[in-house]
């Protein structure tokens, strides 16, 4: 069985199902439940093989899909009528509830895209702080210096600063999270290749840890640059083999 894992963030089982429905170009109002269920299960199995925690919602959806599939396999009891179409329409389609949920979810997924566009447009315009107008205030003695301002406005201001700081922060976090030094991974890879003569490129990426995947990829690139390894590929999209070039130390 051939399947591919799309390393992407699905926002839940409904999102995954929508993805499958779109990629297999099937009609959302007439989902081929058997085929889609198989793809869905493949995905879940892959996740489990990669030792990822599969969220309970994904498993609930798997059970729902299997239930729908079996209901649809049940033989229809009514006599073969001339107007068969009528019978089917009057019968409740076991997929109905799922289709309704998918369409409802898809609506808001699209709305989120709309919001994203607005957000991007907004991020391209700049403004400035309000001007300090203290100069224009009357200098009378008994004027309340904090008129129309409460302690909670102050708290809100503090919160705004934190939000600003948070907004600046993410750019750094992903880079700082490098817990496996590339040098270490380079040594591991070169030792690995030497012991076996050659390695399939894909074998180096057995780990499910995203950071590990990234570090491995960078390590291979670095090893190629330092000419410690060479890569060969017979045809487009065929397996890439990695060979050690030198026997001396890394």
């Amino acid at each position: 069985m051939k399947y591919s894992v799309k390393v992407d963030a699905f926002e839940g089982p409904l999102d995954l199902l929508l993805h499958l429905i779109t990629s297999y170009e099937v009609d959302i109002y007439d989902i081929p439940v058997a085929a889609i269920t198989e793809q869905y299960m493949n995905y879940i199995h892959t996740m489990q093989e990669l030792k990822l925690d599969v969220a309970s919602e994904y498993l609930v959806m798997a059970a729902t899909l299997l239930a729908i599939k079996s209901k649809m396999l049940l033989p229809k009891q009514e006599v073969q009528d001339f107007d068969q179409q009528m019978e089917i329409e009057m019968d409740e389609d076991p997929r109905e509830d799922l289709v309704r949920r998918l369409i409802e979810y898809r609506k808001f997924k699209q709305a989120a895209v709309g919001l994203k566009e607005k957000e991007t447009a907004r991020s391209m315009i700049f403004t400035r702080e309000a001007m300090d107008l203290t100069y224009y205030e009357s200098q009378e003695e008994d004027v309340n210096p904090v008129a129309n301002v409460t302690i909670y406005d102050m708290l809100a201001a503090m919160q705004k600063i934190f939000t600003k700081k948070l907004e600046k922060a993410p750019r750094r976090t992903t880079i700082e999270r490098q817990e496996i030094p590339i040098e270490t991974r380079m040594k591991q890879i070169i030792n690995d290749i030497r012991s076996s003569g050659r390695r399939k490129f894909s074998e180096l990426f057995a780990s499910s840890n995203r950071e590990h995947l990234v570090v491995t990829f960078l390590a291979v690139l670095e090893l190629m640059k330092t000419k410690d390894v060479t890569c060969e590929q017979e045809n487009n999209f065929s397996e890439i083999f990695i060979y050690a070039t030198k026997e001396n130390e890394v």
Partner: protein, 194 residues
């Protein structure tokens, strides 16, 4: 200077001093001691003059307040000056949650999770911390679950005049056309089968 030319100049100054906080028509009318209708008229002219000329800023309305902002087509220049992005973008989870709240407010967490099909505690927390949503009350019935709604900050984050400016939900315009497409697909399919 004519009376109305001076008023227009003052409106420009008032919007300018209000900065990112903006100023609404009523406040402008109070300062100028003229009617809101007159303010509106002058505002239209002022906004137009910034649009038509070769200007660096323009006046936009966000959440009912008018403010100056730089023009979008010049964004690249300001990015050179300001290192940090003026607005960090929200994650997909947060955007989906926010979309559901924006269109269906007031809404409970359970109702949001029903639509998304996943737990939504964390995105809700992020959105609250960023001041984009707030508790607007309690649902009737047992449990009296918290109801969520969007804030003024939400309008500001997305540069919206009001909630009415949200693009219509696909359902309201599209559902029919999706069905039509499906019908079309089937009729074609049947044709090829025959």
């Amino acid at each position: 200077m004519s009376r109305s030319a001076e008023h227009k100049a003052v409106i420009e100054g008032l919007i300018f001093v209000s900065g990112e906080e903006g100023i609404d028509k009523k406040q402008i009318a109070d300062v100028l001691q003229i009617t809101v209708a007159s303010v509106e008229e002058l505002l239209v002219e002022l906004i137009q003059s910034y649009k038509s000329e070769e200007r660096g800023m323009e006046i936009i309305e966000i959440a009912g307040s008018f403010q100056f902002v730089t023009k979008r087509e010049h964004a690249a220049y300001y990015e050179r000056l300001v290192s940090a992005p003026s607005h960090a973008s929200l994650s997909q989870a947060a955007l989906e949650t926010l979309a559901i709240i924006a269109y269906k407010q007031p809404i409970t967490r359970a109702e949001i999770e029903e639509v998304r099909g996943v737990k939504t505690e964390k995105p809700l927390q992020t959105l609250s911390t960023k001041g984009l949503i707030t508790e607007t009350g309690r649902a009737e019935g047992t449990g009296r679950a918290i109801l969520y709604g969007t804030t003024k900050n939400f309008l500001e984050h997305f540069g919206l005049k009001s909630l009415q400016e949200l693009p219509p939900l696909p359902e309201q315009v599209n559902d029919q056309s999706i069905e039509e497409e499906a019908d079309l697909f089937f009729s074609k399919f049947q044709e090829t089968m025959e």
